[in-house]
Symmetry: C2
Subunit: 463 residues, 2 copies
């Protein structure tokens, strides 16, 4: 036989069991989003490169998959483009479309393009694949799904609270224990102001973000490398090492930031979210003894993206060693890049692939997450099949996922098929059963066999 | 404001209402497929061009969207490729991946690649978008969904019967009255043999396929143009003009084809499918007065693709002027192109976009096909919002899609939002309600207002 065909590196096929599990994840998230009044949209896989380029930094531009113009893509292209300017210049000449890199930029484009049809605030969710020409490695794919929800056109902090609730509800339904970490970009800005290094905010947050990974000394070294004076680094120490309850941390922060209006506003925002989240996830409301998932102020949380301007959040699974499984935050000017300034938004994104891994590791899938056939009718030949077909139809009408084996194959082969497919019930009709107007129903787990009418058969499989 | 951003021609954004309707279509098809024991898979959007090229004919190759290799795609490319050989040669040098053009070739690739993990017969379904660089026009898009089901590894005609049943069940659930047209490639081959033009089978079927569009004279002219002798065309006439019931048509066909073993086998196959379909869609089984959708033998049905070898089918909506809304057939060697010969298969594909158009034209969407918010809490400020939040949480826990307006905006603005979103109930809590521990619930359709407790509010909205 010829060499097996393959798929591009970093991409995946999903078989029936993986699909059932992935659908369970997507359906759960979709259902919670809808419960909170979010509305689903979808955008095309391909966007104009003018929409995508320059939105993800220089690195991001390189990771865009570009689509060769169709037809005679070289027409009108100056041949010197092939020699001078290198590949980026040529790519710009022969590609005008690219695959979407995330759901955020297409959403911003959607809001601006359809602004006349939308009622603000607009609460949208979107569950679609994205593509990145990243180097594939364990847990990193070139095609993967994002599950985003955003509210645009409102700067109310109630939106942040509701997104925290959604996170809590989704992971509660999954049975995954999580800690939601929260921070606020304004606090970070306040810190930078306080130490007189307002222009170094990005360097500082990037360095602080590495505390867990590289430790305090290395963070301090990195800060120094980035040109932050020793005295300022000294003043940063109590903040980097901050500990205690959320309340205690906030109290300390308010003292440290007492001269920074921006920093204090960040503290107010975090406090509002913490209080309201506690209110709506109280045990009396949720019926859960401990209330909602833990919400923890974490000043080392800075997230990579530079466009967040208010609250930022990230979710860690408590029982599995894995990176952030959900994240998000507030951005003040997402649609400005498309000529529609002043629209504040806040959003979250569930990492479906990592959630899939966590559910697998903890073996948390409910039993019902299977779409396999429940009942197989054995096929002994034309007459027997014709006898069975009305019962097959009746079983399906009763909601039972039912098959009749297509071919009059050997019994052994048909039973092997039932086993391989993990089908729990097999119905058999040979001469004896046909004469009696019955079926022999075999329970494939217990091995029990019963002679039953069609109605009894359906009742037994359903029970 | 800057010029509005746009999306590539031939692609579409789907807003909340369109999404609700599309999900209804996909969910219905998915649910029927599962009922019949079909298992869902998904394959990557990108396939290797070596998988795709040469599978759809020369025209098809041109319609593939090719993806520019990432990184330095010109490295190692002979500069003369830019000048000589033209665009196809250069494209082959700088692109190794393409977007899938249909779901059939990726499925064949999937079966061969995963053959060691699969139990045959394999009943799979797949609902994913495909991309074609076709000239966009009304009803034809460059990105659209296909909803395919196939059985491979079985040549039993029961599979054809079950696929007919699936078609019948899906359109019954949609409330769309259809006629399923059936033909058999073996009958067509028999006809070609009978008139001594076995090598002209493709030309003949293509010409016959146009009968409805261009009429008998033009079909005859086209047959003559294709080098079919006048005498043979004469002998084809009774077949092209065949009429009567399925039974009558089959009887005539059997006489005409009495010397063609292949042709008679085709008649047998069609008869088997017709009889078994009648059996399983009988009114006593379906509870539907007229039984299943009409199944009609139509010899002019030839379908464009050349790989069908047995039964072929196509579905026409009875109450809307539109092309085929579903089609399919039996192919004997789909996986042979990937080095795994001898695997027979049969499949169908629902045309989601056309079904969407038909449901819209006939206004057949059920009322429940809406995912809009059912209950909006008005927000008068911090204290009022805090008072409402527990009721918001309780409503959501009762399964009501609920929002609280994010900002303490003017009442008028919040009511306008409820109207624009078509939210049927609005809950209001001002000083009076708060003092009494109640809400005023307004029915936005009748205008009725009630003062209620949280429990009463939930009961009222649910009823």
């Amino acid at each position: 036989m010829a060499q097996k065909p393959s798929i591009p590196k970093g991409t995946r096929d999903f078989g029936p069991q993986e699909m059932a599990r992935r659908n369970y994840i997507f359906d759960t998230i979709r259902s919670v989003y809808a419960q909170y009044g979010f509305q689903q949209i979808e955008t095309p896989a391909m966007e104009n490169l003018s929409t995508l380029m320059g939105k993800y930094g220089e690195e991001g531009d390189k990771l865009l998959f570009k689509i060769l113009d169709s037809g005679d893509f070289l027409r009108g292209v100056d041949p010197s483009a092939f020699c001078e300017g290198g590949t980026p210049k040529l790519a710009a000449c022969i590609c005008e479309k690219g695959l979407r890199y995330d759901l955020t930029v297409p959403f911003a484009r959607f809001v601006v393009q359809h602004r006349d049809e939308l009622t603000l605030p607009f609460r949208r969710f979107q569950i679609q694949p994205v593509w990145r020409a990243d180097r594939p490695q364990k847990g990193r794919y070139r095609e993967f799904y994002q599950c985003d929800a955003d509210v645009v056109g409102s700067d109310s902090l109630l939106n942040e609270v509701e997104l925290m609730q959604i996170i809590d509800e989704v992971f509660h339904r999954f049975g995954i224990r999580v800690c939601i970490k929260i921070n606020n970009r304004k606090i970070l800005t306040g810190i930078a102001e306080m130490i007189g290094q307002a222009d170094k905010i990005v360097d500082i947050t990037v360095a602080i973000d590495k505390l867990d990974k590289i430790g305090l000394d290395a963070v301090n070294a990195e800060l120094a490398e980035n040109g932050i004076p020793a005295e300022a680094i000294e003043r940063l120490q109590p903040i980097i090492k901050l500990s205690g309850s959320n309340k205690e941390k906030l109290q300390t922060m308010r003292e440290v930031l007492k001269d920074s209006e921006m920093g204090l506003k960040g503290c107010d925002e975090v406090e509002f979210v913490l209080n309201k989240y506690a209110l709506v996830t109280a045990p009396s409301l949720t019926g859960r003894v401990g209330g909602g998932s833990a919400l923890q102020l974490d000043l080392t949380l800075a997230r990579g993206l530079n466009y967040y301007t208010g609250c930022i959040f990230e979710v860690k699974a408590l029982d599995v060693e894995i990176g952030s499984i959900t994240g998000g935050g507030r951005y003040d000017n997402l649609t400005g890049i498309f000529g529609m300034p002043g629209l504040s938004g806040v959003g979250i994104s569930f990492g479906a692939d990592r959630i899939y891994d966590v559910l697998n590791q903890l073996d948390l899938y409910p039993k019902e997450v299977s779409t396999t056939t429940e009942l197989l009718f054995v096929n002994f030949g034309d007459a027997e099949a014709a006898y069975s077909l009305p019962a097959v139809a009746a079983a399906r009408r009763s909601g039972i996922r039912t098959e009749i084996y297509s071919d009059a194959a050997k019994m052994k082969k048909q039973m092997a098929y039932a086993n391989a497919r993990a089908i729990p019930f097999v119905a058999i009709a040979g001469e004896t059963e046909m004469a009696a107007g019955k079926f022999t129903l075999k329970d494939m787990i217990t091995g029990e066999q019963l002679v039953v009418s069609t109605d009894e058969l359906i009742a037994k499989v359903q029970s």
